[in-house]
Amino acid sequence: MPDPARINHHLTESLLLAYATGELPEAFSIAVAAHLSLCDECRARSMTFDVLGGALLETHAEVLSDGALAATLARVRSEGPAPTPRTPVPADVLPAPVRGYVGGGLDAVRWRPLGGGVKQAILYRDEHATARLLSIAAGAAVPDHGHAGTEITLVLAGAFSDGIGRFGPGDVELADEDVDHQPVADPGGDCICLAATDARLRFHSFVPRLAGQIFGI
């Protein structure tokens, strides 16, 4: 697990607000929840937005029908407490919210090679956005690309650089229409990332674009 003090690139206020209000596409929520599992600072900021939700909850009330309390009590009276939540699982490169979508730890990921030392595994996809794990071999590059929408990339292991910055374990890179980049993994070891995108990426060279069509990048 990355040292929280060494995370340099964090989530934006607007992403945290969208997560707190439930407006984030599920694929993005996976990336946000994964970062919040690693980062104290964003965790504290995220909790602040929940507190604000609680404060807003206090501001309006609607009358319930007669007997609502009695009906609810009748439902729960015989029930004991819910089971205590999961016990902590052994440490893994993948934080719990990601393990939930993989169905296990890093060993359980079913990678599909994209060529050039890059592998991916789609974690979740719906009409709004896609979340995938990427594995970039040490020194290898993800094809140079622009973005048709928003992209959140969270580093889980290793590191990459792309001309905008260097991103290590726990770091988040946000990219949008204005960003063109080519992430290159550090030579030290494979870089494992979680990437969420809300529209198809645009690749600049022909061959990777073809690969994009085949593999659904």
């Binding site: 929280p4 206020e13 607007s14 992403l15 607000l17 969208a18 707190a20 209000t21 439930g22 407006e23 984030l24 596409p25 599920e26 993005f28 929520s29 929840a33 994964a34 919040l36 599992s37 104290d40 600072e41 965790r43 504290a44 900021r45 995220s46 909790m47 602040t48 937005f49 929940d50 507190v51 604000l52 939700g53 609680g54 404060a55 807003l56 909850l57 206090e58 309006h60 009330a61 609607e62 009358v63 319930l64 029908s65 609502a68 309390l69 609810t72 009590l73 439902r75 729960v76 009276r77 029930e79 407490p81 819910a82 205590t84 939540p85 902590p88 934080p95 719990a96 919210p97 939930g100």
Partner: protein, 173 residues
Amino acid sequence: MWADEMRALSERRDESAFAALFAHFAPRVKAYLMRSGSAPDLAEEVAQDVMATLWRKAHLFDPAKASVNTWVYTIARNRRIDILRKRARPEPDDLPWGHEAEADQADALALQQESERLAAALTRLPEKQRVLVERAYYGDLSHREIADETGLPLGTIKSRIRLGLERLRHHMS
């Protein structure tokens, strides 16, 4: 506020404590859902559901981590995403929160005070900004629109929760 009722509920399934919590929070959860676009019938059903969850999970409530209204909000928000948005909201790893009775009590009190201060700050926001905050929470802004909104005056509570988390980190190492 309400922490005593939560303890009574958690420790002895105290129905009068539950009735008091229900009288306060069920109408507020119903209003939250109606303002989020749900019809009154569904809003009432979900409000009862949320209160049933409060009964079942009372033993998991920790006043050092959240005030009761924050906790109820998160339960209601998750049900709303589930039912109205039909999607899941993955949650972060549980924090392995360090427990010390004295620190917990201080945290619970600080959290309560900061929550109240934030609620007061909310009422003092300029009308235009307050409406935007409400619209964001009632699901009336897309995440794209939220991305354009900044400048919420949230500084104060951060620092307090931050201290709790720093103590936590200290506990872990």
